[in-house]
Amino acid sequence: MDIRSENVAGRRETPTYFVIIFLLLLVLMGMVLPKGARSLVTHMMIFCILAMGYDVCFGLTNQCSLGHAVFFGGGAYGVVFSILHLKVGVLPSIFFSLGAGFILAVIVGLISVRLTEAYFVIITAIFFAVFHLLAMDLTWLTGGDDGLSLKLPSVSLGSVTLSLYHPMVNYYFVLTFLAISYLILNRMARSPMGKIFVSIRENEKRVQFLGYNVFRYKLMAFIVSGVFSALSGGLYALTLRYGSADFFSFHWSIMPIVWCLIGGLGTLAGPWIGVVIMSLFQYYVSAWWTYYLILFGIIILLILRISRKGILGYVISRRLN
């Protein structure tokens, strides 16, 4: 147990320099990028939050959920409904999206987390499918496929008033959330609770024998993961200024898995690499070939075959040896 936790701690130390470089690069890039590329990078940063949130679930506690589209869409609709119906500002609306994610994650988690692996995978997939069907069907509530568009109120920070319609403001707004989420999640992963998460991944039975309530810790990881996915969904709705049933689609369930697998499971910052690679891939290849999802499927099979550690995981394991 001692050796293992040292090993785990070592794994955590390494990405710090990577994270700092990555975030600094993002800060600089915001100033120099042309408009189109900036919006692409903004989207990538939002996906990074989703990927990190997912990594808490899959990477740290090894719960492979297919239901994160539920939280992503829930978060997006939290923002949309609170701004449309409650007329709140932008920052409070984010709290609504976090709340929506929390409630959904508690409901889904209480039912699914205690089940065995195969049941867990299938149940979360069923949850996603049912929520997607409902969102498509309840058009009076969600706007269905067409969605509901938003008028964003401006954010006032003390004496300064900012409007999210300005792409630069939006960029740094999202970047701030990315940095904050990383700090929180990194702190959590280094805390004793994070250590227990990792030991659940490594050997669930042994953790149980040591007297920890495995169900409670897995549920906690699931909820944290759901809340950050909801944050990502809320930011995405704010950036696109609309929410539709598409936010519940399968894309948002399967992409986090791919990001995490490419970037490195359980490294929190590793999935960022996956997000960058996959977003560039989608951006360029989808313009070039309509049926690019075939390549996407092949990529999934290849990653699984080659290594489950991912890019950053590979770098770290090289450094450790």
Binding site: L66, A118, V121, Y291, I294, I300
Partner: protein, 274 residues
């Protein structure tokens, strides 16, 4: 009545899913797309030869040729790791869907009813093809039962289902058993697709509905329990048929979903597992 016939088709598909899970530990997300592939292929067979019944032979033959190498060379390394198999089969499902979209197109098409006879059943005209579908499905289910419980190969298969390592140690060629199981499961799904093609519209995303329903069925019946899967498929689909006459289709689906949650809370491993 429609619900019961639909239930027989779903039973075919879900039994394939349950069999594949039970023997190989694969959570097969691509199962719905194999069903779709069956329907699309039968559309092509009808177009080429003008005979629907031919597709009941040709489509399974094609699926056997494709699924055996897929199992051996693509899925074999992940077997038993449920989440890995799930991710891998999602990849396969993307590939199948996009190939279907590329070749067949994104527009739903309909196959003409191959047996346009209708029976007078309790004063209501009832399409004969549906009766035929019911008969064929029951025949296939009977055949599957005979194969699994009355032949020596079925015994090997069930032995591998109970304990794969032990089966290997007893000298059973597990490699052959695994390939056979995957092929049988896929063929069941494809035949379901062929049978459903004249009833439903043939569409490249038609597998999504079916995979959802068969997963619910398999969960309620208990993963890997064949008896449970059969009973759950028939009862759930009849129930959905009854509900759909009162509620909208989506509400009926949501009701089925709520039932599944209730069952899971009471019996986390499904109704029919020991």
């Amino acid at each position: 009545m429609n619900g019961l016939i639909w239930g027989l088709i779903i039973a075919l598909i879900a039994l394939g899913l349950s069999l594949i899970f039970g023997v190989m530990g694969i959570v097969n997300m691509a199962h719905g797309d194999i069903y779709m592939a069956g329907a699309v292929l039968s559309f092509y067979v009808v177009g080429m030869f003008g005979n629907f019944w031919l597709s009941l032979i040709l489509v399974p033959a094609f699926i056997i040729l494709v699924s055996a190498p897929v199992e051996r060379f693509v899925l074999r390394p992940y077997e038993g790791h449920h989440s890995s198999t799930m991710i891998a089969t999602v990849g396969i499902s993307f590939i199948i869907q996009q190939i279907a979209l590329g070749t067949y197109g994104g527009i739903p098409k309909k196959i003409t009813n191959p047996w346009p006879v209708s029976f007078n059943f309790l004063g209501v005209d009832y399409p004969g093809y549906r009766f035929l579908v019911a008969c064929i499905s029951i025949l296939i289910l009977l055949g599957l039962w005979l194969f699994l419980y009355k032949t020596s190969y079925g015994i090997l298969l069930r032995a591998s289902m109970q304990d794969r390592e032990m089966a290997g140690a007893m000298g059973i060629d597990v490699n052959k058993v695994l390939i056979t199981t995957f092929v049988i499961g896929s063929v069941l799904a494809a035949v379901g697709g062929v049978l459903a093609a004249p009833i439903n519209q043939v569409f490249y995303l038609m597998g999504n509905d079916v995979i959802l329903l068969s997963f619910i069925v398999v969960i309620i019946g208990g993963l890997g329990s064949l008896k449970g899967t059969l009973i759950a498929a028939l009862s759930l689909c009849s129930l959905e048929g009854v509900l759909a006459s009162v509620l909208t289709p989506i509400q009926a689906k949501a009701a089925i979903f709520v039932i599944m949650i209730m069952v899971l809370i009471r019996r986390p491993k499904g109704l029919f597992t020991e």
